[in-house]
Symmetry: C2
Subunit: 160 residues, 2 copies
């Protein structure tokens, strides 16, 4: 995983990429959210090098995205279990998946996200918490928040 | 940017990470969506090495995420303009931002996403296209899609 290379950035996107922006990390989280807990199963399903996987899992535990729970003592063997913080990454995976379905899947989506209750197709949308409207990106503005330094509002997709 | 290292994967998440999973790429797209078009402005705002930036911009053009438009002929100077394919990455950035606001911003969100019309706070949700319900992740299942190989449905966050 990356060192904190964006120190000059005060941006939640950059901060998140510091944690999960490594090439393998989000795929490890994808497997963990699908229920994988064992080192050897991650290894087999991802085809990642053993030392890389060990390093990324250790960093995910350090970041509180996975918990390590010993299921055997001699030698110690652990399950890696997704925490709430890790679980909250699923919208990131869902948005990557939606873009990939549109632009990298000429034969159609490999998998589709559906509502367990009624079987309908699930999709991410942006809603306004105030007026309840479903928003297109042209209707969005980013403004400085409570932790912000810059004062300038910016329309998404605007030109300088 | 990464070589196609996930060749064995038939997954829209992995395919998307092949395109934008590089450490700098999504921050370049973030700046482009905020209206940056000039090489030197990307350079200054990101603090990235010149050769790295040149390489990532070239790959983004090759992938059709940015368009190169010459604004000067001798020497050739270009604007980098976001295409529709690039614009469609903004939900990925929004979901990274939301997670970062929650877990990496102890002083509060650096920036907030708001509805330009009414000023309300915007947030991503998952809706069911069939019943119109707003879905929690526990209500979601991924199923094989038209481009899928695996047949097994999987509940998000389930254990193996």
């Amino acid at each position: 995983m990356l060192p904190r290379d964006y120190a000059a950035e005060n941006c939640s996107i950059a901060r998140t990429l510091e944690v999960v922006g490594d090439r393998w990390t989000l795929l490890i989280v994808r497997e963990a959210l699908a229920g994988v807990t064992r080192f050897d199963v991650f290894l087999e399903r991802l085809g990642v090098a053993r030392n890389v996987l060990a390093d990324r899992l250790a960093r995910l535990v350090e970041e509180g995205i996975l918990d390590r729970c010993a299921y055997q003592q001699r030698p110690v063997r652990c399950d890696y279990v997704v925490t709430e913080k890790g679980h909250d990454l699923w919208p990131v995976l869902a948005s990557l998946m939606a873009w990939g379905d549109r632009y990298t899947a000429p034969n159609g989506a490999p998998r589709v996200l559906t509502h367990a209750g009624c079987g309908g197709r699930a999709h991410q949308v942006v809603m306004c918490a105030s007026c309840g409207w479903e928003l297109a990106s042209g209707e969005l503005i980013t403004r400085p928040g409570p932790g912000g330094r810059r004062r300038r509002p910016a329309r998404i997709g605007s030109s300088t």
